[in-house]
């Protein structure tokens, strides 16, 4: 998928390829040719104008992939078809399908570095996707059962839960290899990074705990008891709380990120799986896999506000703007839910057994 002109909503320019560097190409065309006489004022003015236009285009070219101007895309892992569906959220349609490793489940998009990291439990590796070219640029062997995946805020380290080895792997994204193995609890599944403190959290499914890891020392600094079979973790933008989704006890454990203590619990639907917060942090959305619903929770009162119907076996969830994107594993699609009306605004077909387990849109 290289049709970035269409992808990014960037206008097509005459005679230019639609590649990611079309802006750069335009800049070359506008730049001042060598040997221009500096003595002639009108030419200088024209050259100045060209240079200004050039700077603008350079800015625009850089902007194509930068945080501030990034067009919204969702990267949905399809475990049954061994690929990732790239959804353009402006168009609500799949604009690229990227083949990855076997059984892709976990996903972590890092907007600033233009990378998406995919865990492939069946081929025991991770795929590194360049989100500008929408291509796999590296495949890194990683553990025995890679599942949950998250990226450090600065994009340097990737954290990967190894379900079978009971460790959290740290992958250096520059060296493209595993550089550290941190022993955690039994059957580690979901991973999350606190955007403020940079602490790393792992849900140890079979220990009913969450391990808190210091990203600098790469050591477990605390283990917190949560509900029965914690699977995924969601952290708000303000980094103050983390929400741990407990698959078997059908609830969400609310933890204070500062004191690292349990501060609350919310009962949700049957077999909850993943959670995401609204942009303002006031609502927590939880997918209930066996109920085919989404629980909408007020994060202030910890009360259920709404229960919204989804597709079959909803799993991954992410929020962009005023919409929630729910990945329906059973139906092989994504429900786009309007967070004002709680109506399904669109349904987008994906690959087979779509999961989207992780931060599949990324946080600007």
């Amino acid at each position: 998928m290289t049709d970035m002109g269409k992808l990014r909503g960037w206008p097509k320019t005459r005679g230019q390829p639609n590649g990611p560097f079309s802006g750069q190409r335009a800049l070359d065309e506008f730049s001042v040719p060598p040997g221009i006489s500096p003595g002639r004022r009108d030419r200088r003015t024209r050259a100045f104008r060209r240079r200004i236009a050039g700077y603008f285009l350079l800015w625009a070219a850089l902007c194509l992939g930068s945080v501030a101007c990034a067009a919204p895309f969702a990267y949905i892992t399809n475990q049954g078809s061994n690929d990732v569906s790239v959804i353009d959220l402006a168009q609500d349609r799949v604009v690229a399908t990227i083949p990855v490793g076997k059984g892709p489940a976990g996903i972590a998009v890092h907007l600033a570095s233009q990378r998406a990291y995919v865990s492939n439990p069946d081929s025991k590796n991770i795929s590194v996707i360049d989100t500008i070219r929408n291509e796999v640029v590296a495949t890194i062997p990683a553990g025995e059962g890679p599942v949950g995946i998250a990226v450090a805020t600065n994009g340097r380290d990737v954290y990967l839960a190894d379900w079978f080895s009971n460790v959290l792997l740290v992958i250096d994204t520059a060296a493209l290899k595993v550089v550290s193995r941190i022993p955690v609890g039994s059957a580690p599944a979901g991973v999350a990074v606190n955007p403020i403190s940079h602490d790393v959290y792992v849900a140890n499914r079979d220990d009913n705990t969450v391990s808190v890891i210091d990203p600098n020392t790469r050591k477990v600094i605390q283990v917190i008891e949560v509900g029965d079979r914690p699977f995924s973790i969601s952290v708000g933008r303000d980094g103050r709380r983390l929400y741990v989704v407990n698959v078997r006890s059908n609830d969400v454990s609310v933890l204070d990120a500062g004191t690292r203590r349990l501060v609350g619990k919310v009962n949700v639907g049957n077999t909850p799986y993943c959670a995401a917060l609204s942009i303002d942090g006031r609502q927590l959305l939880v997918t209930n896999q066996h109920a085919d619903t989404l629980s909408v929770i007020d994060t202030g009162s910890l009360k259920i506000l709404h229960t919204v119907a989804t597709g079959g076996f909803p799993e991954g969830i992410a929020v962009h703007g005023k919409r929630a994107y729910v990945v329906n594993w059973m139906d092989d699609n994504v429900s786009v839910i309007d967070m004002a009306s709680y109506r399904t605004h669109a349904t987008i077909a994906t690959g087979r057994n779509s999961r989207g387990f992780g931060s599949f849109i990324g946080t600007p």
Binding site: Q79, G80, G103, A105, P121, D122, E144, G145, V147, W163, F164, S186, A187, D206, N270, T271, H290, A291, G312, F313, W329, M330, N353
Partner: protein, 171 residues
């Protein structure tokens, strides 16, 4: 003596079932029945009635009828038992969901949904959906407990069941 020989591998299986691998599988089968949905639901919507229409089920005993949490023990014609718990029951929408607690099927974490929908011409569409993991929860499964074996077993249960259901209702 014989009991303990069987019990040991079953205990191991029950223990391993907790730590299944990460790739869940699914199977969907459906059948069109020439009968009103209500007539089909009278069969399908009886959590304790599967022995009346599934050729592989010889006997069914449910602890609490169609109430949520009711557990049925199915005795299979080929030998062995399956214990399943009713998780959802909606007679208005004609949907029920249940989850396997234990049993002889080569799957773990098995959950299933049975639904009846009205389609054109006064007919019914019965859909049976299952989500499960293979019987062997770790890497490198033996052939009888791998993904294919799990899918084959569940597909077989659904296909033979729906086929017989159609003939029982239509007769």
């Amino acid at each position: 003596m014989r009991k303990s020989v069987v019990a040991v591998p079953m205990l191991i299986a029950a223990h391993l079932a907790v730590a299944h691998g990460p790739s869940r599988l699914k199977v969907t089968e459906s059948v069109t029945i020439n009968a009103e949905p209500a007539k089909v639901w009278a069969k399908v919507g009886d959590f304790n009635g599967m022995s009346g229409w599934h050729p592989a089920v010889a006997d069914s005993k449910a602890s609490d009828g169609n109430n949520i949490g009711s557990q049925r023990t199915l005795t299979l014609t080929g030998g062995g038992k399956v214990i399943e718990e009713l998780e959802e029951f909606d007679s208005k929408k004609m949907v029920l969901k249940y989850r396997m607690k234990e049993g002889v099927l080569p799957v773990t974490n098995y959950a299933s949904t049975l639904s009846v929908k009205a389609i054109d011409g006064g007919k019914s569409l019965v859909e049976w959906r299952g989500a499960f993991y293979r019987g062997y929860p770790n890497n490198d499964p033996p052939p009888d407990r791998n993904d294919e074996a799990a899918e084959k077993a569940i597909t077989g249960v659904y296909k033979t069941g729906l086929e017989k259901l159609k003939s029982v209702v239509e007769q």
